[in-house]
Amino acid sequence: MNAIEIDDLRVKYSNVEVLKGINLEIPERGCFAIMGPSGCGKSTLLKAINRLLELNPDVKISGDIRLFGESVFRMDVTKVRREIGMVFQFPNPFPHMSIYDNVAYAARCNKIVKNKKELDELVEWALKKAALYDEVKDRLRKKASQLSGGQMQRLCIARALALKPKVLLMDEPTANLDPIASGKIEELIHELKRDYTVVIVTHSPAQAARVADFVAFIYMGKVVEVGDVSEVFERPKHELTEKYVTGRIG
């Protein structure tokens, strides 16, 4: 079964159509990259999947998105977001909360664990999984605002993982990080994609080539080409795709 199926998704922002009928099948596990030039709807597509678009009252959505066969629009939105975690372009750990609380708060609210001891273990597990634990284990109670950009992003990954999701959405996660921090995140993605379905939006074809197993090329709100990463990069079927992966448009 596919982890996510997107069925003729159309999204309008105040009468401007941003997504014009998207059809995608995202298989379970592995890393699925959505690439394309800036401003063509990639972030919008991602935010549609975990229904984050609904925070904006001017948005109109039609079509369907299914998570393991069930339509997300018919599920309780809290459940959707528990199963589908998200990491954002700008690392956004809550600066007024400690590192521990950043990871623990949502897990506690969603009753992922039963008691304090299990919560401590969960926080440790999540931070380890996000390759951050060793760097912060002595200052879990310090405020998250004291971390570097790369560390903040890994904290956000830990925070999302603490909810035990099945899918992890990543919206240009390294766009605002330096090359070393970016490298660490990409390493992490290689680890995570063994257990989770990772859907990553990227504006860098090179990054897609590095981390993804499957890739979709989106241009002006439409899917131009989709397939195995080596297929799309070495033998692109569409002229636009070739232009994009060779850097002639971007």
């Binding site: 959707v80 977001r81 998200m86 954002f88 700008f90 809550f94 708060y105 609210c109 925070r159 999302a160």
Partner: protein, 299 residues
């Protein structure tokens, strides 16, 4: 320094000058009572006027008590309402209702305080006196209800009236801060499968200093209010734990007693000493609020 700046300087300096002059004036005019009574003016609850100057003795402890008591009641009521209102306006209210609420709270903030006063004395106090009589007769053993024959002119009435008057200030500050939270944190909170209650609690933690500043400024506003309070507090020297008891606040004491103060030698000076106390309380609380806000904004 260019000429233009020099030209404008006097107008700005005027504000500082006035504040300084006020401080000096109050000090000078309170001095006689400090000389005579020392700090007893603030620590005792006596108001003994007399034709014979040697027998005059004044202590405004009751007024200080009343000021603090009523302002505390006011912010205890105003704080949750201000926060709830701010969240409602920013997160939930549709555009039209949002505008209506914001304009209404602005009207309330600017409305002449005497209108609150006349409503308080002729409408609120009578309504509350019914409740007070009921509560006193039913639970007279509870200290908060323990004043006999409550008339409706009391600490509680003043506190409620003050709460109504200061909420618009507090909520405007909190609302602005809440609306200004960067969208990435809002999106982050919601992406974590939180209910509205849980996400809001998180985001309110982000603006905690603004909430504190709002409370401080509201308290500062409450201590300074005069006419509305003086019409509903009962104007009597009373240090009583009951909500239903009448009392004084520093500002209502000054307003109420100054009329006949000049008939006595020391009473005017006592009232200036009261004004000095109010000056410092008002300055301290407002300054604290402004500083909390500044430090947070530049963090």
């Amino acid at each position: 320094m260019d000429r233009f700046k020099i030209l404008l300087l006097p107008s700005v300096s005027l504000a500082f000058g006035i504040l300084l002059l006020m401080l000096i004036t109050f000090f000078l005019n309170s001095w006689p009572i400090f000389e005579r009574e020392g700090l007893a003016i603030y620590t005792s609850n006596i108001w003994r006027a007399s034709e014979i100057p040697e027998e005059e003795f004044y202590g405004i402890l009751a007024a200080i008590y009343g000021t603090v008591y009523t302002s505390l009641i006011a912010i205890l009521i105003a704080t949750p309402i201000s926060i709830g209102l701010a969240v409602f306006v920013v997160d939930i209210a549709p555009r039209k209702i949002r505008e209506l609420i914001v304009i209404s709270t602005d009207i309330m903030a600017g409305l002449p305080t005497i209108l609150y006063g006349i409503w308080g004395i002729f409408v609120l106090a009578p309504i509350l006196s019914n409740f007070m009589v009921f509560l006193h007769d039913s639970f007279p053993f509870i200290p908060l209800f323990s004043y006999r024959n409550p008339t409706g002119y009391s600490f509680l009435t003043a506190g409620i009236l003050l709460a109504i008057m200061v909420t618009p200030f507090a909520t405007a500050l909190i609302r602005e801060a809440y609306a200004a939270i960067p969208p990435i944190y809002r999106e982050g909170a919601h992406s974590l499968a939180l209910t509205r209650y849980e996400a809001t609690k998180l985001l309110l933690g982000y603006i905690k200093p603004a909430i504190l500043a709002g409370i401080l400024l509201a308290f500062g506003r409450a201590v300074g209010e005069t006419v509305a309070v003086s019409l509903v507090i009962g104007n009597s020297f009373n240090i009583h734990p009951s909500l239903f008891a009448p009392g004084y606040t520093i500002s209502s004491l000054i307003a109420n007693q100054f009329g006949n103060a000049f008939a006595y030698s020391y009473m005017p000076h006592a009232l200036f000493a009261a004004g000095l106390a109010l000056f410092f309380i008002g300055l301290a609380v407002n300054l604290a609020g402004v500083l909390v806000l500044r430090r947070w904004r530049y963090a």
